[in-house]
Amino acid sequence: MTIQEILLQHEPEKKNILPAIKAINQNLSWVSEEAIGKIARYFGESEAYIFSVASFYDEINFNKPALLTLEICDGANCQIKDSDNIIKNVETFFKIKVDSFNNQFVLKRMSCVGRCLEGPVVKINGTIYTKMTTDKVIELIQNYLGY
């Protein structure tokens, strides 16, 4: 779907701004400057306003998505199930730092998603995986990256 097609599914009312931003983010995996411009025109708001709303939420992406985005829950419940070690091990194994960005691989911490009982929980490109171990995470990443 194009940006315009997604926009047209939403009535141009203020309360539909976030749903429209979310829909674009979901369908196209990110919200580009071009998209911000189109959303602004559609809802009759300034680009600055749309960007200020969109950038408020963790879910919205403003960079062309990396090949792989790995988010690891660092909530206390996952933490005591060893999520911290998974973060460290992934950092070492892939020579990457948490919260650093490159267009191949992004590693982030994320907040609790309510799946604590099945922790540690990670999200890869938006899909949640539960009961993770370092080995499982590394295997998943390698599958995603097609090693």
Partner: protein
């Protein structure tokens, strides 16, 4: 004694037919056929049902304020943003029994005179969202939503709205801003949402678990409800129990259980482990050291252990408390909405201090700064999130759990 989970079948969701079979929408029928809106409000006030979103404000009093407002448009909002770490009770409610929440919302909207309702749900709750969307559709098809509900004069439109990953949007005024298509920052209070909420109209915001109690109270009576649990904190509560217990899970218990009893319900302390402390209410919750395990967590005024959202995390003696401190502060630093300086900068500074504590570089300057920062976050932030960020930390200091402090 169970109210919320009595009809749940593990691993299955009560769909529309199932819900009718266990007496669903009987309460709504009773309300629309036999009760004036003022009677509904009075009944709930009498039940002393308190908000399960954390603060424990009386649901009846909140409804009364909005019900007595003369206004062309009022709104009713269900808060299912649940994102306090360690909580999964509202999510489970949405997945297992979505109609229970909707019935509470419809009754509530009738009681306060709202013709438009929203259910604000955490954007990551895909399964619960799907169940709720189906439930809303079933309601529209069966004349439980829309025009002239159950052949009465009452009309209600109800929509689901997905959040996009922001803890602060669980705070009611931030939630309202988010719904309005604005940044999800909290508003200055007063005015409270009851006076000036969504689109500046009188608005009720209630937690999903709170609302799931409503139908039962209408059917069984406020008097019966008030008998359950503690007199000043009646009813049952959903506890999300996790950590060093034999059977982590979601438990519904009456609100007169001690922390020890809650742990016992979850199978007791895990074999071979010893409890370091229990945290009640998620990352913004109080720390309960071993000598306080016989306290009853509740919504009573002045409760030693406020129940909050009801997350129970049993932390064993094997865990490194410093790392858990880091998990807490990482969360608050990330979720600080950035509107006010003490929280935006304070959580950031606090995080670097705790990082130094973990790496062994904590020094005298950090110690001084730590205490100043705690005071600042506790006393000067715009909304309660700043205060939340140091609740557990203050307990860690109070109980001398970290020698460097």
């Amino acid at each position: 004694m169970k109210i919320l989970t009595k009809d749940w079948v593990i691993g299955e969701s009560l769909n529309f037919q199932d819900y009718l079979k266990v007496g669903g929408y009987k309460a709504l029928r009773k309300v629309l056929k036999k009760m004036k809106s003022t009677e509904v409000v009075a009944e709930l006030k009498k039940s002393k049902l308190q908000g399960r979103g954390g603060a424990g404000f009386s649901l009846g009093s909140k409804w009364e304020i909005v019900a007595t407002k003369k206004c062309d448009q009022k709104y009713f909002i269900c808060n299912l943003d649940e994102s306090e770490p360690g909580n999964f009770k509202d999510k489970s409610l949405g997945e297992n029994s979505p109609h229970q929440i909707l019935e509470g919302m419809i009754i509530g909207a009738y009681a306060v005179g709202a013709s438009k309702a929203f259910l604000y749900i955490n954007g990551t709750f895909a399964m619960a969202g799907q169940k709720i969307e189906q439930a809303i559709e079933d309601c529209y098809q069966n004349n439980l939503l829309g025009k002239n509900i159950l052949a009465s004069k009452f009309d209600l439109e109800l929509e689901i709205f997905y959040g996009a990953g922001a803890y602060i949007c669980g705070e009611e005024s931030a939630l309202i801003n988010s719904l309005e298509g604005k940044r999800g920052e909290p508003r200055l209070k007063p005015p409270y949402p009851c006076d000036s909420g969504l689109f500046r109209k009188p608005t009720v915001v209630n937690n999903a678990e709170t609302l799931a109690n409503v139908a039962w109270i209408i059917e069984n009576g406020a008097v019966e409800f008030a008998k359950i649990g503690k007199p000043d904190s009646p009813g049952t509560k959903l506890f999300s129990v996790d950590g060093a217990v034999e059977r982590p899970g979601l438990y519904e218990l009456t609100m007169d259980n001690t922390i020890e009893q809650i742990i016992r319900t979850a199978g007791g302390v895990k074999e071979g482990f010893e409890i370091q402390f229990i945290q009640v209410g998620g990352s913004s919750g109080r720390i309960v050291p071993r000598f306080l395990l016989s306290e009853i967590p509740s919504y009573s005024r002045g409760a030693v252990i406020p129940i909050g959202s009801g997350a129970i995390l049993a932390v064993s003696a094997n865990e490194d408390l410093k790392k858990i401190l880091l998990s807490w502060i990482n969360f608050f630093q990330r979720e600080s909405c950035g509107k006010c300086v003490p929280c935006r900068e304070g959580t950031f500074r606090l995080k670097s201090i705790i990082e130094r504590l973990v790496s062994g570089d904590f020094d005298q300057n950090d110690r001084q700064d730590l205490h100043k920062l705690i005071w600042t976050l506790d006393n000067t932030t715009f909304c309660p999130l700043g205060k939340f960020s140091v609740v557990a930390l203050k307990d860690v200091i109070r109980y001398k759990m970290i020698k460097e402090f």
